[in-house]
């Protein structure tokens, strides 16, 4: 008998910043998994196509009180205002080249539909969206190592993190073959989550009580980036450092992150 799929999924991520060492394995894994092209000279990071960027932030204090935190940022897969999929980018795309999947909560990018107006990039406050300024070129033999599951993108279109959506499709196919509708938690994991050597990245269904992310998102250390903009990201962060928590959003001098969060939750 088929196992019933009885709830809508909201795939999300919880990144423990207390565990992240800034090694960049997640970035490398993402490049390899998703056929992300790169150029010989990648010094200008604003031209890079990295779907996941590890930011280095500091508390701004001089030595010996300097503290550093590494903050990996994939696409936040925003649910948007009212959590109806009205994410900043989806609503603005004039050609429906980016869409919100109500089955998974994942914001997709249709490369063959995108005509490169870049309105979605202007709309995204996280700079999660990257533009193919150049034709993708890989070193000679590297073409043989490209993933057959992810289509390479052409010049002139926008691309972004898809939470390795092709892995979800593969997991669904396997489950279908095995007459299941529900996926096991470890069946669908993103490349970055698998590659993280310290286990800082946890991935799963935020709606599923049996998934680790369900509990982690309720951790007192949890916060999301720019929550005050009502983008409703599905990427959560954990930190025990108050300055990191504060860096995650914008606050006036007299405001406290915890208090603002409470006000937002209670709708004040």
């Amino acid at each position: 008998m088929k196992e019933k799929n009885n709830h809508t999924k909201r795939f999300g991520m919880v990144i423990d910043l207390d565990k992240c060492t800034g090694c960049g394995s997640c970035m490398v894994a993402c490049y390899a998994e998703n056929n992300v092209p790169f150029r010989v000279d990648e010094t200008n990071k604003l031209d890079s196509l990295s779907w996941l960027v590890v930011h280095k932030i500091t508390n701004g204090k001089p030595y010996p009180n300097t503290e550093i935190c590494y903050l990996p940022m994939p696409c936040m897969q925003c649910d948007g205002i009212g959590k109806h999929g009205h994410s900043p980018c989806v609503s603005v795309c004039p050609a429906v080249a980016t869409d919100y999947d109500h089955e998974t909560g994942i914001v997709s990018q249709i490369y063959t539909r995108c005509f490169g107006c870049r309105y979605c990039m202007a709309a995204c406050p996280y700079h999660a969206r990257k533009f193919n300024w150049w034709d993708p070129v890989w070193p000679a033999d590297m073409k043989k190592y490209l993933s057959p599951n992810v289509s390479p993108r052409m010049r002139g279109v926008v691309e972004k993190c898809s939470f390795c959506f092709h892995r979800y499709q593969q997991a669904k196919d396997k489950a279908f073959y095995e007459k299941r509708e529900e996926l096991y938690e470890d069946e669908y994991q993103t490349a970055c989550a698998e590659a993280c050597p310290t286990g800082a990245i946890t991935f799963g269904d935020l709606n599923n009580k049996n998934h680790a992310v369900y509990k982690l998102k309720k951790d007192p250390r949890a916060f999301r980036l720019l929550e005050r903009l009502h983008t409703n990201p599905k990427v959560y962060y954990l930190t025990s450092k108050s300055w990191v928590r504060r860096a995650g959003d914008n606050y006036l001098a007299n405001e406290e992150p915890g208090k603002i969060k409470q006000e937002m939750v209670h709708g004040h």
Partner: protein
């Protein structure tokens, strides 16, 4: 048998040589822009200095600016055909030509700006009705068609073309129904000018641009439409003045210019009051609610608070106040100062609503983003200017653009 001349009867034009020399110089600039345009189409947008943080830049500003400046066409049509300000018939031809140039330039710039130009039609075919850009694309294209229809009767008035009976009657009949097209143009302009205001206003991830409650609808729409209707006529007056200086002729009577300037002045004043209300609500309610102080948005050497002062006070209230006073309009120096300030003001407004939106850091750990256009971006932005000069030069030489020219410049 006398051959019909190409140049309208009763007016004097410069010699062929003088005209050819001028056209050669402007065409050289045009070709520079065309070269850059093909370079971009061939090699891609890596020819620009845009980046992933600055996805919208010089071109989008140029687009918004020319659409605002071309607003003189729809507004003069509205005043002439719908409100009944018949005196403006003496400048409406020129306003239509300027509008035609501005809107065709806007479409060209959009075709250069998109990463996959051959997929440009997707915006119509796969239209997302929730996107401001979709509405802009539809209305912009439709209004350009209207402007073309409005321009055609004037082209048909060229003596050579007018000699053909079919074209003569076509032109005559088109004149007869022009009020319908003027009304259609006004209708379409309200939509696309308004939607262009919404392009930035709906970006709820960008606190510098985002507006809430009534300040998103109808305010952002209202402000862009109103500012185009207010400052578009100023651009028409400015280009008329430049044409008069180059041709060394009076082409439009002062009474016409002053009437246009007076209406523009009242439009500017009412617009800038509304803009001030919008700015105050955004600065003291919307932005603090998102964790920003006003000065957070003006903390860069390029984007400092002086820019806001320049836009609202120097290029808003000042030209508005000059143009609503009789003395201000009658003095040609103060009139032209006000007109130039108003044009600069609306261009600054479009600049900040595009480039400053991109420059302001939203994440607390990001820095201000900087951007300097590449020569290819500059050349393709200069391209419409050269194209405009060519269209105006040809129109002025071969078409009866200014109905009062004969009266003001009698040939002995």
């Amino acid at each position: 048998m006398n051959e019909t001349p190409l140049i309208p009867a009763g007016v004097k034009r410069c010699s062929k040589w003088q005209f050819s020399l001028w056209m050669a110089a402007v065409t050289a600039v045009l070709l520079w822009g065309v070269y850059a345009m093909f370079l971009i189409w061939y090699k891609g947008l890596n020819q620009t200095n845009m980046n992933n943080a600055y996805g919208f830049a010089l071109w989008i500003w140029a687009d918004l600016a020319v659409i605002a400046l071309g607003g003189g066409a729809f507004f003069s049509g509205f005043l002439t055909y719908i409100i009944g300000k018949k005196e403006l018939k003496n400048i409406i031809n020129f306003a239509v030509i300027i509008g035609f140039i501005c809107y065709s330039s806007a479409l060209l710039i959009l075709a250069i700006d998109i990463g996959q130009p051959l997929r440009g039609w997707f915006i119509f075919w796969h239209a997302n009705v929730h996107s401001m850009l979709t509405e802009v694309a539809f209305c912009l294209s439709c209004y350009f068609a209207v402007l073309t229809i409005e321009f055609i009767p004037l082209i048909l008035e060229n003596p050579k073309i007018d000699k053909v009976p079919f074209f003569h009657h076509l032109g005559h009949n088109m004149h007869g129904i022009m009020a319908i097209f003027a009304a259609t143009g006004v209708f379409l302009s309200f939509f696309h000018q308004g939607s262009l205001g919404g392009v930035a206003g709906v970006l709820f991830g960008r606190p510098f641009a985002f507006r809430e409650h009534i300040f998103i609808w109808p305010f952002t729409f209202f402000l862009f439409t109103w500012s185009a209707a207010a400052c578009g006529p100023c651009f028409t007056i400015l280009v008329t003045w430049i044409t008069e200086k180059i041709t060394r002729k009076k082409l439009v009577k002062d009474s016409v210019i002053q009437l246009f300037a007076k209406i523009s002045g009242w439009m500017i004043i009412t617009y800038i009051i509304a803009k001030t209300i919008d700015t105050l609500y955004w600065a003291f309610v919307t932005a603090p609610g998102l964790g920003f102080k006003l000065m957070d948005f003006y903390a860069s050497p390029t984007y400092n608070i002086g820019l806001l002062f320049t836009e609202i006070v120097l290029c808003g209230f000042v030209p508005g106040l000059i143009l609503i006073t009789k003395r201000g309009r009658e003095n040609s120096f103060s009139l032209m100062t006000a007109v130039i300030l108003a044009v600069i003001g609306v261009c600054i407004n479009r600049w900040v609503m595009v480039l400053q939106v991109m420059a302001v850091p939203v994440l607390s750990f990001n820095e201000w983003y900087t951007y300097m256009p590449s020569w290819q971006e500059i050349a393709t932005t200069v391209l419409p200017v050269a194209y405009g000069l060519i269209v105006i030069s040809l129109a002025y030489r071969y078409l009866p653009v200014f109905p009062q020219e004969k009266e003001l410049n009698p040939i002995d």
